[in-house]
C-alpha cells in the first residue's frame, strides 16, 4: 500500500495526532496492572469448578496445604460472610453476574471459582490449586446451551417492538423471505489476561486491575466488602484490550481483596487464559428468525425479527439487538421480539457490538436473500429502503449517511464489476464471492466529568477516570483540550484510568469519546470564561491571561450530562453509575452511526478453504476527533468481523457445559495472514445534535455487518446460503 499510513484530517475531522502513549507501548515501558510490582506480594491461583451445575460435598485440602509455600486457601467454608451479596449490573448494581463469590456449596456452572489458593510463589499457588480435591454431586442433566431440553425460554415483553400489522402485511406480501439463523458463543479474548492486585494500607485498599470502569470496581467492592467507597482506589492506567470483558466487577476482585486483608500483604492474581473463559461474561449464542415481505420493486412491507439469546439461571441478560434491526429501514409493518433461554452456564455479558453483531448478521443476510429473490442488486435494495425517518416511532435520526457510505465503499471496492449470478466469478480453481452488508451502531453517551488545569507556564493537564483500552482515549483527551484552549498539543498531559479522578462513563457502548470529550469541552469553556479569553484567541493571549490572573493555575471541572438523562442523574455518576444511553432508547430521536461493508473472498474448489482477499468498509460516525486512532479502531473491528464469521466459536461440552477450546490454540482468532487487503474509509458527517462533541463513536461499528457480508459473499461464490456462524469448511462440502 502506498500513500499516507492513515487518513489525514478532513471535513469535521481533527488532526491525525500520533498516539499519546505510543512510545511507552512500543518500548515496553507501559505498565499494565499485572506489571505493577508491590513488595512482599503473595500470589493467588483460582480453582474453578470442573463439573457443571451441582453441589460441593466437601473439600480435601490436605495435599494442597502440603505444597511448600502455601499460605491460605479460600473456599466457601473459609471465607464465611466476608463478602456480601450485591445486585448485578442488570439489577442496578455493579457486578457482572449475581453469584456471590465463594458464596455457598452450590455450583451454578462449569468453571465457577470455588476456591483460591494464596502462596509465596505463583508456582506453589498453581500447584496447590491443582491438588485441591473436591467431592461434588453433579446435577444429572444440566442444560448446557441454548438448545438444551432443560433450558428455560422466556419472552422479554419490554423488548418487543411493534408498528403496523406485521401478520397481515406478511401474509399479503408479494415476495417473502422466512429464514432462521444461529450465531455461536464467543469470547472477547483480549490479549491481556484478567489480573488483579490488591494492597491494603490500614483500612485503605488499592486495586490494580485492567478495567473499562474503575468506578464499578470501586463502588461494587465497597458494597461487597462493607467498607466506605472513599477508602478504595482502583488504578487501571493501561488496559491490554477489553472488548466488553472488563466492563464490570467480576467475582475475582473481592476474593483477592479479602485474601490481601487476611494476609496483611499485597496479593496478585492473574487468571490463566483458560480460566478467563469463565471469569467474565462473553457473547452468548443466539437463534434468530427473520421474516421479510417486499414488493417486486424491493420495498419492504413487513419485517419481523425475533431472537433467542442464551443467559444464565442466575441472571437474565439479553442484548436485544432486534430493537435496532427493526429501526434501520423504512417499513410500515414491524415486529421485533427478544427471548432469553436460561441454561446452566456462566452469565454472558458484553462483547464488542453485543447485540449488533448477531442480529445484524441475521437481518443483513436475510436482506441479501431478498435481493437474490428479487434479482436486485443488494446495494440498490438498501437504497430503496433507505429513510430519514425511523420506521417504528416515526422519529428523526440525528443524522444518517448510510447510502453515502455504500456509494463510497462500493466505488472503492469496484462493486459495479460484480457479475450477480452465484458461482459466475472464478479464477482457476478458486470461486470468487463478493458480498456486502450494512453496518450500524447506536450513538450513545453517558454522564461524565473531566478536570482541566491550565498552568501559568502554558501547559495544560486533563484528568478523567476514562480508560485507555487502546482505542485512543488518552490522545483524544489531549487533543480536545488542546483544540478547545488553543494550547499546543505537545504541551498537554493526561491522567486517566484512576478512580480518584473525576468520574467518567463506563468505557463501553462506544460512548467513551463522546462522553468524555463533551466534559472536557465544558471544562475548557469554563476556563476561558473565567479568564475572559474568547474562543479563538491565540495561545499567547491565553498565557497572558493566566499570568495576569496572578494564579499559579486555573482549573475547572466539566460535567457533561448525556441527552436523555435527568439532572438528578448527575450524582449517580459519582457512585459508579454512569451507563451509556442513546441509540433507539430516546423519546425524541434516534442516533446511529452507519456504514457499509464489502468483502471479496475466494473458496477453493477442492479443499473449500476460504480466504478473505479484501475488505472495504466506509463509516460515517459524526465528528472524528482523531482520524488516525479512529481508523485503527475500524480496521481492528473489521478483522473482528472476519474472525467472527470464519473462526470464532466457543465449543461447549454437551455433558457439563465446559468450554472445550478455552485457549488460543483452539479458539481461533484471526492472524496476520488472514487478510490480504483491508481498508476502512471515514466518511465525513456532521451531527450537531447527537451530543456536545458531535461524536458518535467508532469502537464497535467496524465489526457489524462483516459476518453478513462474508456469508453473502459465500453465497455469491457457491450458491450455498449458510445461516449458521461460524462458516466452516465442512459447511461447504
Amino acid at each position: 500500500m502506498t500513500g499516507p499510513l492513515f487518513p489525514q484530517g478532513g471535513p469535521n475531522m481533527g488532526q491525525p495526532a500520533p498516539r499519546y502513549e505510543g512510545r511507552a507501548k512500543v518500548t515496553g515501558e507501559a505498565r499494565y496492572p499485572s506489571d505493577v510490582r508491590l513488595p512482599r506480594t503473595a500470589h493467588a491461583c483460582l480453582h474453578l469448578s470442573r463439573i457443571g451445575r451441582g453441589t460441593i460435598r466437601g473439600f480435601d485440602l490436605t495435599a494442597a496445604r502440603a505444597v511448600h509455600g502455601v499460605i491460605d486457601i479460600l473456599t466457601h467454608e473459609t471465607v464465611g460472610d466476608a463478602i456480601r451479596q450485591t445486585p448485578a449490573i442488570y439489577q442496578g448494581g455493579y457486578t457482572s453476574d449475581s453469584l456471590l463469590p465463594l458464596g455457598s456449596a452450590e455450583i451454578a456452572h462449569w468453571g465457577q471459582p470455588i476456591a483460591m489458593v494464596v502462596a509465596e510463589t505463583y508456582e506453589a499457588a498453581r500447584e496447590a490449586a491443582q491438588r485441591i480435591v473436591v467431592t461434588t454431586a453433579p446435577h444429572p442433566s444440566p442444560a448446557v446451551d441454548i438448545n438444551a431440553p432443560g433450558a428455560e425460554t422466556r419472552a422479554l415483553e419490554p423488548m418487543m417492538v411493534q408498528a403496523g400489522d406485521f401478520d397481515a402485511a406478511y401474509a399479503a406480501g408479494p415476495i417473502r423471505i422466512d429464514a432462521r439463523y444461529t450465531t455461536p458463543a464467543q469470547h472477547q479474548n483480549p490479549m491481556e489476561l484478567f489480573a488483579t492486585q490488591c494492597v491494603w494500607e490500614g483500612d485503605r485498599l488499592t486495586v490494580h486491575e485492567p478495567s473499562q470502569y474503575v468506578n464499578s470496581v470501586k463502588f461494587g467492592l465497597a458494597e461487597q466488602l462493607g467498607v466506605p467507597a472513599d477508602n478504595i482506589r482502583v488504578i487501571s492506567t493501561h488496559v491490554g484490550g477489553a472488548f466488553g470483558a472488563k466492563g464490570f466487577l467480576t467475582q475475582r476482585t473481592a476474593l483477592v481483596a479479602i485474601a490481601a486483608r487476611r494476609l496483611g500483604r499485597p496479593v496478585k492474581l492473574v487468571a490463566t487464559r483458560e480460566q478467563g473463559f469463565t471469569v467474565s461474561g462473553y457473547r452468548a449464542e443466539t437463534r434468530q428468525h427473520v421474516q421479510l415481505a417486499a414488493t417486486r420493486d424491493g420495498r419492504l412491507t413487513a419485517l419481523r425479527h425475533e431472537g433467542w439469546e442464551l443467559t444464565s439461571r442466575a441472571d437474565t441478560v439479553a442484548m436485544g439487538g432486534a430493537s435496532m434491526t427493526t429501526r434501520l429501514y423504512a417499513c410500515p409493518n414491524i415486529l421485533g421480539r427478544v427471548n432469553t433461554v436460561a441454561a446452566d452456564r456462566s452469565t454472558p455479558g458484553f462483547m464488542r457490538a453485543p447485540g449488533e453483531v448477531p442480529y445484524g448478521f441475521a437481518l443483513e443476510t436475510a436482506l441479501d436473500e431478498l435481493a437474490d429473490r428479487l434479482g436486485m442488486d443488494p446495494v440498490e435494495l438498501r437504497r430503496v429502503n433507505d429513510t430519514q425517518t425511523e420506521p417504528v416511532g416515526g422519529l428523526p435520526y440525528t443524522s444518517r449517511s448510510l447510502m453515502r457510505c455504500f456509494d463510497v465503499a462500493a466505488a472503492t471496492f469496484g462493486w459495479s464489476g460484480r457479475s450477480p449470478r452465484p458461482g459466475s466469478m472464478r479464477e482457476g480453481d478458486w470461486l470468487i464471492g463478493w458480498g456486502c452488508a450494512s453496518a450500524y451502531y447506536p450513538a450513545q453517551a453517558g454522564n461524565s466529568a473531566a478536570r482541566v488545569r491550565l498552568t501559568a507556564d502554558g501547559t495544560a493537564h486533563v484528568a478523567s477516570a476514562g480508560h485507555e483500552l487502546g482505542q485512543g482515549m488518552t490522545t483524544m483527551m489531549a487533543q480536545v483540550a488542546a483544540e478547545e484552549l488553543g494550547v499546543p498539543l505537545e504541551r498537554v498531559t493526561v491522567s486517566l484510568g484512576d478512580s480518584d479522578l473525576p468520574p467518567a462513563v463506563v468505557n463501553g457502548g462506544s460512548a467513551g469519546t463522546a462522553s468524555v470529550a463533551s466534559a472536557i469541552m465544558i471544562a475548557c469553556d469554563a476556563i476561558r470564561a473565567r479568564l475572559g479569553v474568547p474562543r479563538d484567541a491565540p495561545y499567547a493571549a491565553l498565557r497572558a491571561a493566566v499570568a495576569a490572573s496572578g494564579l499559579a493555575f486555573v482549573e475547572e471541572l466539566g460535567e457533561a450530562r448525556a441527552h436523555g438523562r435527568s439532572p438528578e442523574s448527575l450524582p449517580d455518576m459519582y457512585r459508579g453509575r454512569a451507563l451509556p444511553l442513546g441509540g433507539v432508547e430516546l423519546p425524541d430521536r434516534v442516533q446511529f452511526a452507519m456504514g457499509a461493508q464489502f468483502v471479496e473472498l475466494r473458496i477453493h474448489r477442492w479443499t473449500r478453504e476460504i480466504r478473505v482477499r479484501r475488505a472495504v468498509g466506509a463509516f460515517a460516525a459524526g465528528r472524528i476527533i482523531n482520524p488516525r486512532t479512529s481508523h485503527s479502531q475500524l480496521l481492528g473491528g473489521m478483522i473482528w468481523g472476519i474472525g467472527s464469521a470464519l473462526h470464532e466459536h466457543t465449543d461447549i461440552d454437551q455433558r457439563n457445559a465446559a468450554y472445550t477450546n478455552a485457549n488460543l490454540a483452539d479458539y481461533l482468532v484471526p492472524v496476520h495472514a488472514d487478510i490480504s487487503e483491508i481498508q476502512a474509509i471515514l466518511v465525513s458527517e456532521e451531527d450537531r445534535l447527537v451530543n456536545q462533541a458531535g461524536v458518535k463513536g467508532v469502537g464497535e461499528i467496524g465489526v457489524v455487518g462483516v459476518a453478513a457480508a462474508i456469508s453473502n459473499a459465500v453465497f455469491h461464490a457457491t450458491g450455498r446460503r449458510l445461516r449458521d456462524l461460524p462458516i466452516k469448511l465442512e459447511h461447504l462440502l
Partner: protein, 450 residues
C-alpha cells in the same frame, strides 16, 4: 562442569544464583527481574506476547516464546528483550509512527519479532504469524514492517555450549555423556525444544525432578547438507531445517509447508526429533519424512539403530524407542532428479494452526507417467502413514487431475472425527489436497496467496 546457569541478557553476561530453578520459564524469570516488557497472554506458545530473541553468534536472530523456554535450556545463549533495544531504536519507533499499537499488550512481542525479521527477512506475514494482535487489524503493523531496516547490530560475544548440571537438570555436551545419563536416569524427562513439553513448565508450572536436555549435545546439533540428503541433528530446530531447504532447490517445495509449521517462534525452538518423540498423528514433519523415506538414527550405550520412519511410528503417540534410547539424527534422502516433491497442509486457520489433514508426496516418473508414488498423510489415522492403494492408483498414469481424483477414491482411511473436522470432512479434504497436487505439478498457483 557448570552448576550455575550462565546466559547473556541484553548484551550483558549473567550468572544466575545457584538456587535458581532451571525449570522456571524465561518469561517468569524476566518479569521477576523487573523486565516486564514481555507479557503473558497464554503461557502456551500461542499468542507471542512473550516473544524475545535469541542472538546467535553468527548474527542470526531467532524469535522464541519466552513462556515455553526454561532457564536451563538457555544456558550459554544470548537473549534480547524489548528493553534491550533502547527507547530510540528504529523498530519500535516505526511501529509507533505507523500507529501499529492500540492496547499495546501484544506490542513488545511484535517489536521483537519485527526486530528479528529485519535481519532474517522473508515474508512479513509469516514473520508475524506467531504474534496475535486483537486490536489493530494487523494492517498498520505490516505497514510499519515495510519501513524497517536492520540496525546492523553485532551479536554479543558467544559462550561455549559446555556440559552443565543444575540440580536434576542435565545438559550434556556429548552423545556419550547423554547416553550414559539416559542409562542411569530412565525416568528423566528428555527435553529438546520444549514446544510440546514446555507446556508442563509454562501452563502447569511443573518442576520435574530430573530433566535431560539434549540441546547442547554436539552430535545432535545442526543440519548437514550432504550429496545424498540432509542429516538433521536431533537438536536442530525447524528454523535450521527450513534454512537448509531454502538454500537448495531440491528441497524448495518443502519451504511453504514448513513455513506453516507453528510460527517462527515455535520453529526457533521445536525440533523434528521432538515431532518424532511425540508421534502425534498430526505432527507436520512426519508425512514429509514418510514420503521421502527418512531414516531415524537412534542410540543407546549398547549401540546404534537406523529405523525407517514408517517403522519408527508404531501407533497413536507411540514410537519404537526403548527406554534407554535417544534420537540422534534424522536422515532425509535427497529426492531423485526429476522427481516431484510436494507437501500440503489444511487447517481451519491458514497460519499458526494445527493441521486437520496434511499430505506429503514424492513421485518419480518414467516416460511421462508415474513410476513410483509415495503419498503420506497426517490426521487421517492414529499415526501419520502412507497410503498404498492411492499410491498404486497413480502408478503408470500421467500425474493429472483425473489420476489424482482416482487416487482420492482409493484412500483406505477411516479417519477419526474430532472438532477439527468430521470423518467425511477429513476424507474430502484429503481428496482435495491430492487434487491440488495436479496444480502444483503443472506449476500453477496452488498457494492460498497466489
Amino acid at each position: 562442569m557448570n552448576d550455575q546457569i550462565r546466559l547473556v541478557l541484553n548484551g550483558a553476561p549473567r550468572t544466575l544464583p545457584p538456587h535458581q530453578s532451571p525449570t522456571t520459564t524465561l518469561l517468569d524469570w524476566l518479569r521477576a527481574e523487573g523486565l516486564t516488557g514481555a507479557k503473558e497472554g497464554c503461557a502456551e506458545g500461542d499468542c507471542g506476547a512473550c516473544t524475545v530473541v535469541l542472538e546467535g553468534a553468527d548474527g542470526a536472530r531467532t524469535p522464541v516464546n519466552a513462556c515455553l523456554c526454561v532457564l536451563g535450556q538457555l544456558h550459554g545463549r544470548a537473549i534480547r528483550t524489548v528493553e534491550g533495544l533502547g527507547p530510540q531504536h528504529t523498530v519500535p519507533r516505526a511501529l509507533a509512527e505507523a500507529d501499529a499499537t492500540q492496547c499495546g499488550f501484544c506490542t513488545p512481542g511484535i517489536v521483537m519479532s519485527a526486530w528479528a525479521h529485519t535481519r532474517e527477512g522473508g515474508d512479513p506475514h509469516e514473520a508475524l504469524a506467531g504474534n496475535l494482535c486483537r486490536c489493530t487489524g494487523y494492517r498498520p503493523i505490516l505497514d510499519a514492517m515495510a519501513r524497517m531496516q536492520d540496525d546492523g547490530a553485532a551479536p554479543p560475544a558467544p559462550m561455549v555450549p559446555d556440559s552443565a548440571k543444575f540440580g536434576g537438570f542435565h545438559l550434556p555436551a556429548s552423545l556419550d555423556e547423554a547416553l550414559a545419563l539416559r542409562a542411569v536416569r530412565p525416568e528423566a524427562l528428555v527435553l529438546m525444544g520444549g514446544t510440546d513439553l514446555g507446556l508442563r513448565f509454562s501452563e502447569h508450572r511443573e518442576h520435574p525432578a530430573q530433566v535431560l536436555c539434549l540441546l547442547n549435545v554436539a552430535e545432535m546439533r545442526g543440519v548437514e547438507v550432504r550429496p545424498t540428503g540432509l542429516r538433521i541433528g536431533a537438536a536442530a530446530s525447524y528454523a535450521e531445517w527450513l534454512r537448509a531447504c531454502r538454500a537448495d532447490a531440491a528441497w524448495a517445495p518443502l519451504v511453504p509447508y514448513l513455513a506453516r509449521l507453528g510460527s517462527r517462534q515455535i520453529r526457533g525452538l521445536g525440533t523434528v526429533a521432538g515431532n518424532l518423540g511425540t508421534a502425534s498423528p498430526i505432527g507436520d514433519a512426519l508425512p514429509v519424512l514418510l514420503a521421502l523415506g527418512a531414516v531415524v538414527e537412534v542410540a543407546q550405550l549398547r549401540g546404534v539403530r537406523h529405523i525407517p520412519v514408517g517403522e519408527f511410528l508404531t501407533g497413536y503417540r507411540r514410537n519404537a524407542l526403548v527406554p534407554e534410547e535417544l534420537i540422534v539424527a534424522i536422515h532425509l534422502p535427497r529426492p531423485p532428479e526429476g522427481a516431484f516433491l510436494a507437501a500440503e497442509k489444511l487447517s481451519r486457520r491458514h497460519d499458526q494452526d494445527i493441521s486437520a489433514v496434511s499430505l506429503a508426496a514424492l513421485i518419480t516418473f518414467e516416460d511421462g507417467v508415474v513410476r513410483e508414488a509415495r503419498l503420506a498423510f497426517g490426521g487421517m489415522d492414529a499415526t501419520a502413514r502412507r497410503c498404498a492403494p492411492a499410491e498404486a492408483a497413480l502408478r503408470g498414469r500421467p500425474l493429472d487431475d483425473g489420476a489424482l481424483a482416482g487416487a482420492g477414491q482409493a484412500l483406505d482411511f477411516a479417519p477419526m472425527a474430532d472438532w477439527r473436522g468430521s470423518a467425511e470432512f477429513r476424507m474430502e479434504a484429503a481428496r482435495g489436497l491430492l487434487r491440488r497436487l495436479a496444480l502444483r505439478h503443472a506449476g500453477l498457483p496452488a498457494e492460498i496467496f497466489a
